[in-house]
């Protein structure tokens, strides 16, 4: 056991945990941030994706000891108050989910993609997102949502901010 300081969604936390514990376990069990999901435990499905210093990482294979100096963002940290992040809004509008269990990880991966490439081609979206599994098969809608998410940033002024 060790005392580990964590910065998650802009909040500072101190947790008592073995540094070898997965970040996923700490988020879910210690911090009750359950939006990040367990899917496979071996980094193969992407359900547990979070941003670590802005990069998409699989929290199930990331040990908590390695992130204490870094900024962690989870799905709970994306919206500002009631105002959804454009990627969240785009997923909603494209109905890019069925059971929704993969949605957190999909959105976090998409946010990471758009941060480094704001106008990805369809093939770039597919390449980047291929590590995220949706068993309900909503992939085509997710691609559409990611493409649409870019648009609100360039919407006509009339539409204004907020929703």
């Amino acid at each position: 056991m060790a005392t580990i300081r964590l910065a998650v969604n802009g909040n500072l936390y101190t947790v008592d945990a073995d540094p070898a514990t997965s970040l996923l376990t700490v988020l879910r069990e210690h911090l009750d941030l359950t939006g990040t999901k367990y899917g496979c435990g071996e980094g193969q499905c992407g359900a547990c994706t979070v941003l670590i210093d802005g990069k998409a990482q699989r929290s199930c294979i990331t040990t908590v000891g390695t992130v204490s100096q870094k900024q962690v963002t989870t799905i709970e940290g994306l919206a500002s108050g009631n105002r959804l992040h454009p990627v969240q809004e785009a997923f909603l509008q494209a109905e890019a989910m069925q059971c929704g269990y993969c949605t957190s990880g999909m959105i976090m991966s998409a946010v990471a993609l758009l941060q480094r490439n704001s106008t990805p081609k369809e093939s770039e979206i597919i390449d980047f997102m291929d590590g995220n599994v949706c068993r309900c098969g909503t992939y085509a809608r997710i691609v559409r949502a990611i493409q649409n998410a870019v648009k609100p940033m360039a919407v006509p002024a009339g539409k204004g901010a907020g929703r």
Partner: protein, 719 residues
Amino acid sequence: MTEVAHAHISIEPERYELTAAAPYRFDLDRREFFRFLGGGILVVSLLKPAAIAQESGGAGRRSDSLPKEIDAWLHIGDNAKITVYSGKAEMGQNIRTSLSQAVAEELHVPIANVEMVMGDTQLTPFDMGTFGSRTTPTMNLQLRKVAAAAREMLIGLAAAQWQIDRQHLIAADGRITDPANNRAVEYAALTKGQQLTQAVTAETPLISAARWKVAGQSALKVDGVDFVTGRHRYPSDQKLPDMLYGKVLRPPSFGATLASVDMQKAEQMGATTVRDGNFVGVAAASSELAAAAVAAIHAEWKSEPQPSSKDLFDYLRKNEVAGEDPTGDGDRYDVGAVDEALRSADHRMQQTYTVSYIAHVPLEPRAALAKWDGDNLTVWTGTQRPFGVRGQLSEAFRIPEDRVRVLMPDTGSGYGGKHTGETAIEAARLARAAKRPVKLVWTREEEFTWAYFRPAGVIDVTSGVRSDGTITAWEFHNYNSGSAGIRSYYEIPNQRIVFHATNSPLRQGSYRALAATANHFARESHMDEIAHAVKMDPLEFRLKNLKDERLRAVFEAAAKQFGWGRSKVAGQGFGMGGGYEKLGNIATFAEVEVDRNSGDVKVARVVSAFACGAIVNPDGLRNQIEGSNVQGLGGALFEAIEFDNGKILNGRMSQYRVPRFSDVPILETVLLDRKDIPSVGAGECPMIGLAPAIGNAIFDAAGVRLRSLPLVPNGLKVG
């Protein structure tokens, strides 16, 4: 196939849907109802409307008892809040939205005014379970009736208040209006101070699909914001104060029995341990500690030799078991004189098709949180059958069902894989020992190993056909995979169709579309083979032997959208498959690209035409069809469970390939909206045409006939 033939194919639970417990006889004092719900209007829907009409007389009831055998109810409170109670479960098929639409339509209110309470054995009426594409044809209709009866009651209340003939009144936008006298009253003002109950009667008028305004339109997921923000709490996200984490020690192979166990180290680590027969498990303060404690247990198991996947199909053929057909879905169908017709046919063909076991891989594995209060047990768990799980818990702990409450927070998918209550029982057993709530979430490996699989099968097809392409004889034997979709919809005068129950080396059960996928794969592949044998176009050949108008319509619509008959480039192939299942009709056309050097097979485009009566939520329906095609790609192309001597060999996500972004073809969907036909479900039928369409397209591209699912787990060997 005629309408009559359609009608006698029922959508009762199938062989592998796992039988349900006897229906709970709902019996509540109506005063209890209002104590719980608050005043207002209560409308109940009953399983046997005829008997109830007698009992209730159709008017607003004021007696103190309610009829039994309620299957849904709706309450409009003093605050105009509409709450609907249904035992159905939501796991991504989007019924929380489509059922809300049905209620909103009949009550003339916005969808947002409707709240659905689902899958809670204490709050909702008994329901056998959510499977078999039954929600739309049954519950959707029942809720429309309930909402319509509520609307008629509100009109009646307004008519009484204004002392006017109800015929002059209109329900719209949450109000009853009297246009002639230019007045209106809100529903809430009418329900205030009331305690009225009403049963649905046969006379309750429903709004016809042609006049739908809310139903029939695409609607976004009612609680979509909770999913994109991570706020929704799935079963595995549930938490209680003082909760412990559970973990079960798994045997090294199926059916192994415990010879000895030493749990001392686990106990020294601070875990609560349980050994009860073959059940060994722990509860601890964290999931990590629970896992470590289980790893510290030393156990000796006794195992028996078991079959392996390489001998699977031989095993199934040799292990037929006699037994009653538990579901009446037909083990044998004979018509005409098959043997004679085969002898006199111009062409005869005999082929065998096989289907492997596959896993559901719901992204949320099974999970349960269990809590005891004295002898009362409450369990939150992900299941398609909350009432079935309640029955299992009652049996496992030898307590009456009324001491068990099962709640089903909308779960991370099921696909037929969450009918049973293993995690519920395991968590409850550990919670009883620990005297604290226990949560237990299966790992992916546990989910792959200790759930159940879609049945594997062997199918022999023998056919006789005249040179002009008329099929005269059809013999079809299915070993193990099941009898859903086993009957042919082609017009064939001489048929022998037999389902052979066999022992199964692995635990098997429901899976989206179940055996209909296997039976359609065999039938539609075989149809393609005959078409080539008699040198006919596969579409023309099908239509020549098909009378059913609805099925012809989907084949023709899909062919048109696909551009059937257009020219191909090298390596490209086109194929089709289709059929009838769960009251829906589907035709699927696939375009594949085969790389003859690498053996890579890419499904480039899939066109589906689907008819399911009057469409309730067009975009939700498209989502289901697209999802069926994407999920279906896995079983068609590469998914197969490998096993040996009681062990699963590929039970991890890194070893078992599921469809990903890069596998997804262009998906085009044609919806045939039939407002004159009752709405039916769409979760399963759209999947059944895909595998044969792909197999037939591969033959078209490469001249290689594949007769086993998955078709190309290791790519295609050409030449």
